[in-house]
């Protein structure tokens, strides 16, 4: 085990200061600062197009923001410090919004990919965790299938298993229930809840399905128009969050339209 493996549990796993990201002159993220600790389950919420996915990409080092001070596992990250970067990445797990399964590899190899390449495990060593993760998501027996042979719901679960098998110190699930019916999203969320409880790591979940997200999170980060509008414990959300966040959460939970919106359809932008 490398020395980076032991970190002070009180120090944040992810620490970011003044993150600003522009794409083609438009400010996608504006002065974002966050401290995320091991053991937290963080819900990332916000309207469509508010910059959630971009924030995630910045945190897992896939996008280099225009300006930021990013520390992962208590060390500054930059492209120049390749060894540390590699070490960081091997401890991060991301479930991509569109799953990003390798379509030339079968299910076993997809789930084992991070173990084999990032951790340098042998195939024999990886077999145990891979099978356990597949069993957990209810896909035991599909090891030799190619992603193209699976249904959409199964591909989603393979993507989740790929994150779980590697047991990363920092796991991110980007919209794990997008477009799912209520029953299936409840199932996926139960899976995530189960995982978050068993793992002593930092788990971040981004989704619009607040009804099922809020019960499993300990902390909520709300991104509105590229800025952090609320960052605090879940149970304080409805009492201390600013108006726009409260309105958004209430709308998502109750299914009751905002009166202002209801009177004038199309009167204001969705963004």
């Amino acid at each position: 085990m490398s020395t980076g493996q032991t970190i002070d549990p009180k120090r944040p796993v992810v620490q970011v200061r003044g993150l600003t990201h522009r794409i083609g002159g438009r400010r996608i993220l504006d002065d974002v600062s966050l401290d995320l600790h091991a053991g937290e389950v963080v819900g990332l919420i916000g309207p469509g197009g508010s910059g959630k996915t971009q924030l995630i990409r910045c945190l897992v080092t896939l996008t280099w923001p225009s300006r930021a001070e990013l520390r992962l596992f208590d060390k500054p990250v930059s492209l120049l410090r390749r060894r540390h970067l590699r070490e960081c990445r091997s401890r991060i797990g991301l479930q991509f919004q569109n799953f990003a399964l390798f379509d030339y590899l079968d299910v076993w190899n997809n789930v084992a990919f991070p173990l084999l390449h990032a951790r340098g495990m042998t195939r024999a060593d990886a077999d145990g965790p891979v099978r356990k993760a597949l069993e957990r998501v209810g896909l035991a027996g599909t090891e030799e299938k190619l992603p193209a042979e699976l249904s959409g719901g199964m591909r989603r679960r393979v993507a989740i298993a790929r994150v779980m098998a590697a047991a990363p110190s920092f796991a991110v699930f980007d919209d794990p229930v997008a477009g799912l019916d209520p029953v299936n999203s409840a199932k996926i969320m139960a899976l995530l809840k189960d995982y978050a409880r068993s793992a002593e790591s930092l788990v971040v979940v981004a989704t619009h399905d607040l009804e099922r997200l809020l019960p499993i999170t300990s902390r909520v980060v709300a991104v509105f128009k590229g800025r952090i509008a609320y960052d605090g414990p879940t149970h304080d959300l409805m009492s201390t969050a600013p108006d726009e966040v409260r309105r958004f959460v209430a709308a998502a939970l109750s299914g009751e339209a905002d009166p202002e919106l209801d009177e004038a359809p199309g009167g204001r932008g969705a963004s």
Binding site: D181, V183, R212, A251, G266, S271
Partner: protein
């Protein structure tokens, strides 16, 4: 209240893709002038069912009727006529990326009203204005968030002034605000007397808007009836669905 006349009917429709059977002997009536929701778990063939009504898919067996037309036996030319009255709006906003929003809407007007490009453009802008979307008229579709793209697709379909409108998962994947805006338009259409068929598993939308609900499960219609009945039905599958319970048949 008199029994509403059906505008469309499916009789004993079977449909398979390869060895995968999606629909087995589905029979269904769509009442005129009402808002019917087609619900069901992901991957049960809701879209497949509805695409039969406009001839985008043809059944392996069974009959599909739209008023007095036998849809499954029409040729492409006749289908084009049908599709002007009964418009299908896709789940993903299928806008043409190379054209501006106004041009997207104008295209449909130009083709079906046989008017000059300039007239079509102003008709299109009027349509956008009516829906409160004027601010988007000159934008390019890829620049817009998906909620607004879906609104524009809806505007484009409405430019045909259809008597029946079919919406495929209009609010799926949208944040609550965008979903409300779509639902508000649907309500307006409902008040105008347009026959609506909405595919959705969004329970909140169903509560807000549905007159009737059709629930598809395991290749068949499990429930058809009023909205209240759907939420209170004494069926374990429906109960699991409306309460989003993890354990059960789904």
């Amino acid at each position: 209240m008199s029994e509403p006349t059906p505008v469309a009917r499916l009789i004993g429709v079977d449909k398979s893709f390869g060895s995968h059977t999606v629909l087995a002997a589905v029979t269904l009536e769509l009442p005129a002038g009402r808002c019917t929701f087609v619900a069901g778990p992901s991957g049960t063939g809701k879209s497949v069912l509805v695409r039969h009504l406009v001839g985008l898919l043809r059944p392996d067996a069974g009959e599909v009727w739209y008023r007095d037309l036998r849809v499954d036996q029409l040729d492409e030319q006749a289908l084009l006529v049908l599709r002007r009255k009964c418009v299908y709006v896709f789940q993903h906003p299928t806008l043409f990326d190379s054209m501006s929003v106004a041009e997207n809407v104008a295209l449909v007007v130009k083709y079906h009203k046989g008017v000059k490009a300039r007239v079509a453009e102003s008709l299109a802008r009027a349509q956008l204005e009516r829906m409160g979307l004027s601010r988007l008229a000159d934008a390019r579709p890829p620049e817009l968030p998906s909620g607004e793209q879906k609104l524009v697709s809806l505007a484009r379909a409405l430019a045909l002034e259809p008597e029946t409108l079919i919406l495929d998962e209009p609010t799926t994947g949208l944040d609550p605000y965008a979903a409300f805006e779509i639902d508000a338009h649907v309500r307006q259409l409902k008040e105008q007397g347009v026959t609506l068929l909405v595919i959705s598993h969004d329970l909140q939308s169903i509560r807000r808007l549905a007159d009737e609900v059709v629930f598809l499960f395991d290749r068949q219609v499990r429930y058809q009836g009023g909205m209240q009945g759907f939420f209170e039905a004494n069926d374990p599958v429906l109960d699991q669905f409306v309460h989003a319970r993890v354990h059960g048949a789904i």
